[in-house]
């Protein structure tokens, strides 16, 4: 007798049931209406959004909306096809050129989502004869991209260049390529890769380096290009990956590089070839948004100011943050899953939405209430979030 395929999810179902008994669906909350980049109506109540990754607060920018409307009217609701068939419009090329210009890279490929950008880049770069060394705390899209590539996967300790050095030295040279993958800002606790240390390892061992700037593109660096821009190490980074669903405020992702053969990823990468291209409205809003990120560096300055205000407010309350470095991702460590769920519900009921982050989606089995700061938050918003964390989390 065969087993029901879904039976394997029995434990997950029980865990979900426990969460629902405690209150709202913390992993699928419905926004009934989005009022602004920092406000939504949830259960009939206007709620401060402090967990949306809407770093630049650009989602309601009038110019971006106008660009999206124009594209919708002129090019229709969807492309109904892949980039390698009928789904390449002039605007897809324009998006890639605008982005390549901002990144100061020769080549850029746009993907339909950020998740697919990592799948597409990793599967397009690495193959079964290659080895990918990935940071232990990498995003799931990196793990999944590595799995899709068929490459040998070696995991090194989080942000530990010495551990990478050891693993590179230990792995015999099998003649295949080597790719090291790190992230600009890690999405759960907000810490950054020590890029200078990894670049030092690169001088000792031969490998190519990919930096996923999903949470740092638009956010870090004098040109908003991410961690490598901030660290002044862009020449040492071979490939950049990023997303349009955070600072750009749309949906999609990208990979970029300077290599002559880079464009061949389009014809070798299944996540690029076998999915429909991004819709006209999304592509047009991405183009408008990226131009704004370049032209309006004050958004980054405001975001950094807001992030510092929230970080210091949490520290003053005595809360244990996920890391010691200020970034727009500011997570608060909680004792265990039941108390985290309870506090998340209390914060929501008091008028602030944050992300709940639970194992195995977090490093080291920690439970987090994760905030992401927006340039559109006002000082009053930040102070309200701090006050509510004081009432709910610090007092708890």
């Amino acid at each position: 007798m065969t087993t029901s395929l879904l039976e394997k999810h029995r434990g997950l179902s029980e865990r979900y049931g426990r969460m629902m008994e405690a209150g709202e669906n913390a992993v699928g909350l419905t926004n009934d209406r989005i009022v602004s980049p920092t406000r939504a109506l949830i259960n009939g109540r206007e709620t401060i959004l402090a967990g949306t990754n809407n770093y630049m607060g650009i989602t309601f920018d009038p110019d971006c909306i106008a660009a999206g409307k124009k594209a919708l009217e002129e090019f229709g609701t969807g492309t109904t096809g892949s980039r390698i068939a009928n789904g390449t419009y002039a605007m897809h090329g324009e998006l890639e050129r605008v982005l390549a210009g901002m990144l100061d890279r020769k080549h850029c490929i746009a993907f339909t989502t950020g998740y697919q950008a990592n799948l597409g880049m990793l599967a397009g770069l690495a193959g079964p004869k290659d080895t990918v060394f990935l940071d232990a705390d990498s995003h799931s899209s990196i793990y999944d991209g590595c799995a899709l590539s068929g490459a040998k996967l070696v995991r090194f300790r989080h942000n530990d260049a010495a551990d990478l050095d050891k693993r590179l030295a230990r792995m015999e040279d099998d003649g295949g390529g080597r790719l090291v993958v790190v992230e600009g800002i890690y999405s759960m606790v907000g810490d950054r890769a020590p890029l200078d240390e990894f670049v030092e390892v690169k001088k000792k061992h031969e490998f190519e380096l990919l930096v996923d700037e999903a949470h740092s593109f638009g956010v870090l660096g004098p040109n908003g290009r991410g961690l490598a821009d901030e660290a002044g190490l862009e020449d040492d980074v071979d490939y950049v990956v990023g997303t349009f669903s955070k600072s750009v405020g749309a949906i999609g992702g990208f990979g970029a590089g300077n290599q002559d053969m880079f464009e061949m990823i389009r014809y070798a990468s299944r996540p690029y070839m076998f999915t429909a291209s991004a819709s006209p409205a999304s592509v047009a809003t991405s183009i408008a948004s990226i131009k704004k990120l370049q032209a309006e560096p004050e958004r980054r300055t405001q975001l950094a100011k807001n992030s510092k205000r929230l970080f210091e407010g949490f520290r003053d309350l005595g809360l244990e943050t996920g890391c010691d470095v200020v970034s727009p991702v500011i997570a608060v460590r909680c004792p265990d899953e039941p108390s985290t769920i309870t506090m998340w519900n209390m914060l929501l009921a008091a008028g602030v939405y944050v992300n709940i982050a639970l194992p195995p989606g977090t490093p080291g089995n920690i439970c987090l209430l994760r905030c992401s700061v927006s340039a559109a938050h006002t000082d009053a918003d930040i102070d309200r979030i701090i006050a509510l964390f004081g009432e709910v989390v610090a007092a708890g």
Binding site: T131, A136, R155
Partner: protein, 82 residues
């Protein structure tokens, strides 16, 4: 189990202790993820400890066919050239 197997078994079960929250008895046929009810990330963290203990690399793509402690012992022996 020969002496080398026993040596690896002892080291592996000691490393597994911190992930075995329910203190389940560890045997060669114990399914590391299924029987101990530990999630995929914890399994990878445990394997990292095994790698460092034996100074070997165990690529993650080898793990899909490695479920029990006995199978892990064989991977350790193979990867360390024993």
């Amino acid at each position: 189990m020969d002496a080398r197997d026993q040596e690896i078994f002892d080291a592996v079960t000691e490393l597994l202790g911190q992930f075995n929250a329910e203190s389940i008895e560890l045997k060669p046929e114990t399914d590391i993820s299924g029987d101990l009810n530990i999630d995929s990330v914890s399994v990878m963290d445990f394997v990292m400890e095994v790698e460092d203990k034996f100074d070997i690399d165990i690529p993650l793509n080898l793990l899909s066919e490695t479920r029990t402690i006995a199978e892990l012992i064989n991977v350790v022996k193979t990867r360390s050239g024993a």
